[in-house]
Symmetry: none
Subunit: 403 residues, 2 copies
Amino acid sequence: MIDFPYLAEIVQKTDSKILMLVADGLGGLAQSGTRRSELETARVSNLNRLAQQSAGGLTLPVAPGITPGSGPGHLALFGYDPLKYLIGRGALEAIGIEMELKPGDVAARGNFATVGGGGNLTDRRAGRISSEVAAPLAEKLNKIKVPGIEVAVRHVKDYRFVLRLRGPGLSDDLTETDPQRIGVAPLAVEARLKAAAATKAAKAANAFVEAARAVLQDDAPANAVLLRGWSTAPDLPSFSESYCLNPAAIAAYPMYRGLASIVGMQVLETGEDFAAEVGTLKEHWEKHDFFFLHYKPTDAAGEDGDFDKKKKALEELDEFLPSLIDLKPDVFILAGDHATPSIMASHSWHPVPFMLRSKWTVGEGVDRFSERDLQRGSLGQFEAKHIMSLALAHAGKLLKFGP
Amino acid sequence: MIDFPYLAEIVQKTDSKILMLVADGLGGLAQSGTRRSELETARVSNLNRLAQQSAGGLTLPVAPGITPGSGPGHLALFGYDPLKYLIGRGALEAIGIEMELKPGDVAARGNFATVGGGGNLTDRRAGRISSEVAAPLAEKLNKIKVPGIEVAVRHVKDYRFVLRLRGPGLSDDLTETDPQRIGVAPLAVEARLKAAAATKAAKAANAFVEAARAVLQDDAPANAVLLRGWSTAPDLPSFSESYCLNPAAIAAYPMYRGLASIVGMQVLETGEDFAAEVGTLKEHWEKHDFFFLHYKPTDAAGEDGDFDKKKKALEELDEFLPSLIDLKPDVFILAGDHATPSIMASHSWHPVPFMLRSKWTVGEGVDRFSERDLQRGSLGQFEAKHIMSLALAHAGKLLKFGP
């Protein structure tokens, strides 16, 4: 929707409120024995009742057969074409730990690694050292000085960290240092284009790597670093300005707060689980006209390959629904950023269950909120990037297009 | 279809005939009590029988969530991408009263308005004066002379009129004079671009406004005018040449005759209701190979928010169908330019019921002509701009693409 060429001419501010609940990894797949998916197995009477009062369908996150990461999955839900608006790996890693990325900053995803006496890699992940070991090492790296460049390093988890280079005229058009195998030396960072900004950034990156080797020389197995996924902060049109909304994001996990913040949503402080998130939602209900509310356990259970746990995560979500509907959103949406079928124990490319409830959808529902039923929903299968158009239309926020 | 890049290489003239019946605002929505739409409530046995012999589906007029006006809605049905071929509001208003617009003419939609002694607006619609009062005033405005410019004013309805400026080198890149509120003076027309053609047109427009104030000074409440929606005649590829068709349009309402004429269809004289239109169709059946036949009552009833009236409009349409099929069109199409659900009392963004009957579709139908049944039709949901491709293909007018 953000790319609809006449959006500015037809969008208008109104008092109506939109609540977009995103159940991460919502979609599933049927098990071979029962031939039923997680949604078809779970007791989700509230979801089913809402599906009967909603426009239903299945959303395609990116394109057929394409499994999205969290970045493209969420950008599509927010109306950004995930093939046009890209987030680099380094930038996403920074976003995921809420490390500030200003325009022009260049970020890389870093691994602690091990090199032998000859300088060749013996372990690309430094024996998968724990966070307890790695965090203080990241602190040491954070003190590295590179002339003319502001260096910042933040620990992420286990052997992973983020490096951020800040300074005038830096480009992210850089090669990675990870040779993807052991027995050879880490590669030098090279400018992929013969441009001054790339050459300058490559020089700074190599200076950092050299300084890191010196700083870490006594910290084996973590005596070296590998840098990948060079990227700048994504430059996205403002969600708020584009849609004439005053949006708020509520998510217990930093990654999703970060994704909301890069499109310009106000990120609300909340607690560590969904109950806390719902409390935050109620507290701020009067102050915003769009809420992005994130539910993580469905994805976590799917990633674990735990069918029963995902079923339970759906049932727990189901119990929260009446309290959300009690807030009387003009438009209530339940969507997923991608499927995470338990039988695959990973994100997948499958279309994702979707429903939208407004005063105009009361007669058009399907019997149950499941992959199979929603395939026959009134919305059919459609690209997730169109969800925001439907949300704004049902909320009465879009004028007629053309005379 | 007009934009299919190899259209000219594959389209051919044949003897087959296409009848495209457009039921304006055809699509509806289910009521909450019965959970049935207008189509699902109406007794439309002919429609249902035809649906059983047709390829069925739902058409998306513009894009998900986008509610089209009559202009984009009909352009899509005729195969013109409604996001590429735009019609301005002033031009559509002129088209709607069949006022000639030549290339280079600039048209605006005008309101009669009321200003007080200080020149500030007290009513933007002059108390919504009736056509009886407004028509003679428009005649007075039509006599205004602006040096070097040919001015024409035609009354539309109630307090509305169209202003047409004709002369060499005029641009429609002009600001509107309606400040959208009372208590302030009307705005001057300004050129939005610093181009000679816009400056010239702005000068002419302001001269007209000033002259109108003088002409109308004793005609309170209609003692001023407001001008909006400056636009030139749309420049569209020829329907007839692009498709190798000899098309005719039959519509009781001027707006739809106008839309047909701007794509180059021959507009046939007809009467004031659908019975008269069908008479015209029969009379001219041998002379054309494409007919656009427009049915208005479905939209009018939907706009009134009158569910029962829309149901009756569908039932009345149903009774005409056998006489249309008796003409033995090689391709019969029933489409809508957009939905007008009675429960919304307005145009909407919802996909629109569609069927196409040819000798190749006899076995692929759905049971009933309704939103729900057609969702499962063989055509699924598709963009309305592709209807003409299907029409030409089923009529045997498209050769194989590629060797």
